[in-house]
């Protein structure tokens, strides 16, 4: 398996340097566009909101054991997530030395994308033994939306990270929909979306009050 060094990683690095897609905006207030010529998704981005009572605890969130069990489908993945256990139970070192385990925002506000590169490598491994329905060399990657998505032409702020299918050169609409050009970028679905924030801007404790209220509402309903 050759997944450590590929064209995608190199291209991603160059894109990051050029456009700095990973940003930590100080102005978190969404912009509202007044022009009628703005596409629908721009209007929707500014108008959508969520009420406090719509926030809930995720009670059946996957556990450590569940994820470890899932990772055992692929040789070596478990050793990345559970390295101490692996060292104790095996004489072999992990095939995928991974570090760090998260973003490093400590260096002057610049974030180290080594975490994302590691994550992309591990996701790429999962394709190696996947079903035959996945075309050769098509895989899911996490990258900046500026790279591939049709939102790149939007004036609206967009998420920091998105996951999408690619062949390493062009974004693809799906695992069985190979397109040799980038003209199909508008059809490329965003699979998962992620935001990066400094802890002073957002952390879990900022939601604690809302989630406590959600729990109280649930108990009251059950009573």
């Amino acid at each position: 398996m050759h997944f450590y060094k590929d064209s995608l990683d190199l291209r991603s690095i160059s894109i990051h340097r050029k456009h700095s897609p990973i940003r930590f905006s100080c102005d978190l207030r969404p912009r509202v566009f007044a022009s009628k010529s703005i596409p629908n998704y721009c209007v929707m981005n500014s108008e959508l909101t969520i009420a406090p009572e719509q926030l809930r605890h995720w009670y059946n969130f996957p556990t450590f054991d569940e994820i470890i069990s899932f990772s055992k489908r692929w040789t070596g993945i478990e050793a990345v997530f559970n390295p101490i256990q692996n060292t104790l139970s095996s004489t072999n070192e992990s095939r995928f030395p991974i570090s760090p385990m998260g973003f490093d925002l400590s260096q002057g506000g610049e974030y180290d994308d080594e975490f994302i590169r590691n994550l992309n490598r591990l996701i790429r491994v999962a394709h190696c033994s996947s079903t035959s329905s996945v075309s050769d060399n098509l895989y899911v990657v996490i990258d900046s939306p500026n790279f591939a998505m049709h939102w790149q032409h939007s004036h609206e702020a967009w998420a920091d990270l998105v996951a999408f299918w690619t062949d390493g050169i062009h974004p693809q609409a799906g695992p069985s929909d190979r397109n040799p050009t980038s003209s199909a970028a508008a059809r490329v679905p965003c699979l998962l979306v992620g935001e990066l924030r400094r802890s002073r801007d957002f952390k879990y404790s900022h939601l604690a009050g809302h989630l406590r209220g959600a729990t109280e509402r649930k108990v009251a309903t059950q009573l």
């Binding site: 909101t49 450590f64 899932f70 699979l191 979306v193 400094r198």
Partner: protein
């Protein structure tokens, strides 16, 4: 901190649209942090089931789902970035969700249609 000063919501029970400004005057609860509202918008725009917020120390996963007649947003416990034996860390959680739902599209899959509230909000917003 206010999420949005001028937006519309939809009351699924009464079927009427209302300004969130009106709701603010009645709602005494603290408002939802802007990054969460922003992520929710991204998830709605892309029809995503899952999304995440991450900072220097922790990862928080979010899941859109329908509860009864309205959309809700499940919030995971905080997952710390650093390795701790026997505990979840950000790398393994993100890998799990991307492989399980993005690569293999297991149930419920990465795709979730636009919520009823979002559809309504979009219609109202576009008409302005």
């Amino acid at each position: 901190m206010k999420a949005n000063n001028c937006s519309f919501g939809f009351d699924a029970h009464s079927g009427s649209a209302f300004h969130t400004e009106d709701m603010e005057s009645q709602d005494t609860e603290e408002e939802i942090p802007v990054p969460v509202v922003q992520l929710y918008r991204y998830m709605e725009m892309n029809h995503n089931s899952f999304g995440y917020l991450m900072n220097e120390t922790e990862l928080i996963m979010f899941r859109r789902r329908v509860d009864g007649d309205r959309m809700c947003l499940d919030v995971s416990p905080p997952v710390f970035n650093h390795y701790s034996e026997g505990n979840l860390n950000a790398l393994m959680v993100l890998w799990y969700f991307h492989v399980k739902y993005a690569v293999f599209n297991d149930e419920p899959g990465y795709y979730m249609p636009l919520s009823h509230e979002a559809s309504r909000s979009l219609t109202i917003g576009t008409a302005q």
